[in-house]
Subunit: 274 residues, 2 copies
Amino acid sequence: MILVNGVETGLVQAADRGLSYGDGVFRTLAVRHGVPQHWSRHYAKLCSDCEAISLRCPDAVLLAQEVSRVCAVEPSCALKVVITRGVGERGYRYGEDTVPTRILLTAPLPKYPQTYAEFGVKVRLCRLKLAPQPAMAGVKHLNRLENVLARAEWSNSGIAEGILCDIDDNVIGGTMTNVFVVKNTMLATPSLHRCGIGGLTRDRVIEGAARHRARCEVTTLAWSEVIAADEVFLVNSLIGVWPVRDIEGRTYSVGPLTRAAQNWLKQEDDAQMA
Amino acid sequence: MILVNGVETGLVQAADRGLSYGDGVFRTLAVRHGVPQHWSRHYAKLCSDCEAISLRCPDAVLLAQEVSRVCAVEPSCALKVVITRGVGERGYRYGEDTVPTRILLTAPLPKYPQTYAEFGVKVRLCRLKLAPQPAMAGVKHLNRLENVLARAEWSNSGIAEGILCDIDDNVIGGTMTNVFVVKNTMLATPSLHRCGIGGLTRDRVIEGAARHRARCEVTTLAWSEVIAADEVFLVNSLIGVWPVRDIEGRTYSVGPLTRAAQNWLKQEDDAQMA
């Protein structure tokens, strides 16, 4: 199902600035049993991302109604919510009165092997290095060619994800995930002030750690530190937590803090559905 | 007029990867007296940009036919040609069989004051710094949020363009133009191997210089060198050459190599229309 500005259609204006310039933001979330998982928190992230690029985020009530309409028709799906600057005239400049476009698209929930969450995944290091751009760092905007090019680096289906470093060989995240490591019982996840995307599940793991008095640091993480870590895991809103069992031949076992993170999320998920 | 895959419509698929990820490239050119100016050269740039992101560029004959159709209806316009990866499934990965989308959009030719080309323009330095990304540098791809954010820095209509530097304070270009400077009778333009967009008019000025035995260097150009230059001018396919008369209060007169560049382009333009 696709809703564009509340209308069921598969089409958007060709002159939309989302297409012309990638001038917009998005979120992807799971819909389960008709419930858009953690919607209010995704909406809050949508708002802060809109603010980062001076875009007016559509009204909470309006967007929640549209999300509900979609969930009623597709009670189990991956839901992508895209907000663009709207249809504009030619040129990079936008008018203050440009009306943002709301696009809701559904797709089947991805079917990953059960083993991924249980025994972990094999991942690779991408050759592409993320460019530092503090003005848009952390924001889930529509300029995602880096992710596309990085994901095109491999086709081996045995590799579940690619790790991306910045130009100084600090690990930033996966092509579609955020990364956590454990070193000496301390959790750490890369700082996203120069590049990368701040996913909601990353926030939820950081908060879960705080709730359970586990130490978790947001910091610069060199590639060498990730390789030397005791545990590594990947997160996003569709996969939850995937332990990493192999990065470029270096193997890890699934450790206690990875299992803890899975439980923190599960508790919240269960509470939401109760 | 808008043609999408040869069909006259204002609409594209909401699931097009051009919108989802900015996964595509584009060119903007002038159509005058029904002739798409320097089309074959724009097509060649479109092809090399497609290649840079592993996208199959549509067939030359097919695209030329569509451009001709548009030019017959709109003999005087700004024509934008967009090639996207096409409609894809959810996720950054694309299938080898994904069919690229062709979008041709027209807009009125921009009406800039006559004084711009004659006496020069006032420009500013943008606060936003371009991120270095060698994997996509020089390519006119659809990830243009940096340009959008930079253009949003000013609304004073007396300022015609904003200059963009990289994170090392080297000048890369304008938000919608390429930049040339003259120092001791030598032309120079920024190298685009780390960031920036390679416009066709930039190529044409470099070649014009070679044809007329003027020295022209493609090099790293520090902001301080641009400020200290004897002449500065801006180029793109719609404006031709604009002399710069003022950058942040530093004033320039319109020099002989700026006038020469205007003549080199005019000779080619006239030859094309003859």
